[in-house]
Amino acid sequence: MTTYTLPKDKLPEFLSALSDYEIWAPVKKGPATLFDRLDDLKDVDLDLENQPVISKKAIFPQNEPLFSYDRKGTVTETDLNAVKNTIVFGIRPCDARSFTLLDPVFEGDVPDPYYRARRSKTALLGIACNDPFVNCFCTSIGGSPFGREGLDLLFIDCGDLFTLEVITETGKEITGKASSLLSPATAESSEQIAQAATDKIKRHIDLTGLPEKLASLFEHPVWKEFASKCIGCGICTYSCPTCYCFDMQDETTLKQGRRVRIWDSCMFPEYTLHASGHNPRATRTERFRNRIYHKFKFNMDNFHSYSCVGCGRCISLCPVNIDLIDYLSRVKETE
């Protein structure tokens, strides 16, 4: 593997060398750190202290106009060729990995052209987590704070400089554009930092046998107990890097309209509400159970992976302490 070093103060120069890309990065917005498209390179704020929300929107935007139409019914397809080559900079390894879990969903039997257009033109430049957050449990679910899966280039914070690991051809191409700023790294490996980071992860869960366990617990009263304190907001699903459910809506003005796809949340009752008024998942219990089953059972049945990367955001952001790790451990103990 090729590795380089980049002095930290050269980061702005590095990013400006990539000016033919559209760049997404964590940006400080008021007190919050959010992923956003950069208008000004100065806005980048890696802010390693805070876990940024939400990187999936770089490839799977919260609103995606599918096509537009006029009053005569003339349909104009969204021009996907206009999607620019994009770099998502400062993405965490777990978030990068989430795209590898979204790929089978959006590719599948019928590939999704919108996802594919962005995915194929987006390079993921990750920053390793030297200092994982309190609810990080990526190591329990196949990831790691230094995970390379899904990434093209991994930045490792080594004090005054970043070590850059080139993971893919795209990564190589990108380092090529800024080669004057990079120096080849000495043999010194990042393994020690990686180990230290992994050791800092305090929350663990053994998921062996979970799908089989869930298969036997569908009707168990434990779900009612778990869901009893859920207040039914969508914060867990919207902040989740692997949640992908969406709604499709027509939005019109007098002259024109468009069909848009918009993130949806399985925690909202209207998500499954039939026009007749019947709702197959009418209660909080059913909706909550479906979320857990989708992530840890159905996705396993369909795509042979969990739909979770262990980022812990749903735990950190939940207003009522619905703790996925805690709940899954209790599921495992439930008879």
Partner: protein, 147 residues
């Protein structure tokens, strides 16, 4: 460039202001052709969110007009409306929409002249403010949220 003609939506109550507006017409009193009238049974029927929605979808101003206090066909509709609109007006002002764009008036069925005056005044005030740009800036999404 031609002079700015404001686009004002007026919610007129059926019993007083709509009849008042009618009278303005039958007496051939002139007033600016800037209002689009929506007839409602009572100002109390006007959900304050209509105001936000109207401004959101392109109007430069809104007028709600009904019977004078104490003369409401339904006894208290205009009193309830009065409370609601002062709150909505203050809220929108706080969010950055000039309160001159959200107006209310009492016009009875016999006040054809007053109706013309109200429309003239509101039109003049909004002309001074110019078009409401706030929501239009964001058409098709604010640049930072479109993606």
């Amino acid at each position: 460039m031609s002079e700015f003609e404001p686009n004002i939506v007026a919610f007129l109550c059926n019993w007083c202001s709509y009849a008042g507006a009618d009278l303005t017409g039958t007496t051939r009193t002139h007033y600016p052709p800037t209002v689009k009238v929506i007839r409602v049974m009572c100002t109390g029927r006007v959900n304050p969110l209509f105001v936000a929605q109207v401004l959101r979808t392109g109007a430069d101003g809104v007028l709600i007009s009904g019977c004078h206090p104490g003369e409401c066909h339904y006894m208290k509709g205009n009193f309830l409306a009065r409370r609601r609109f002062i709150i909505m007006r203050n809220l929108l002002e706080f969010i950055g929409i000039d309160p001159q764009r959200i107006r209310m008036s009492w016009v009875s069925a016999s006040e054809g002249k007053k109706f013309a005056d109200v429309i003239t005044e509101v039109t003049e005030d909004i002309k001074k403010l110019g078009p409401l740009q706030s929501f239009k800036e964001n058409v098709n999404g604010h640049p930072k949220t479109e993606g």
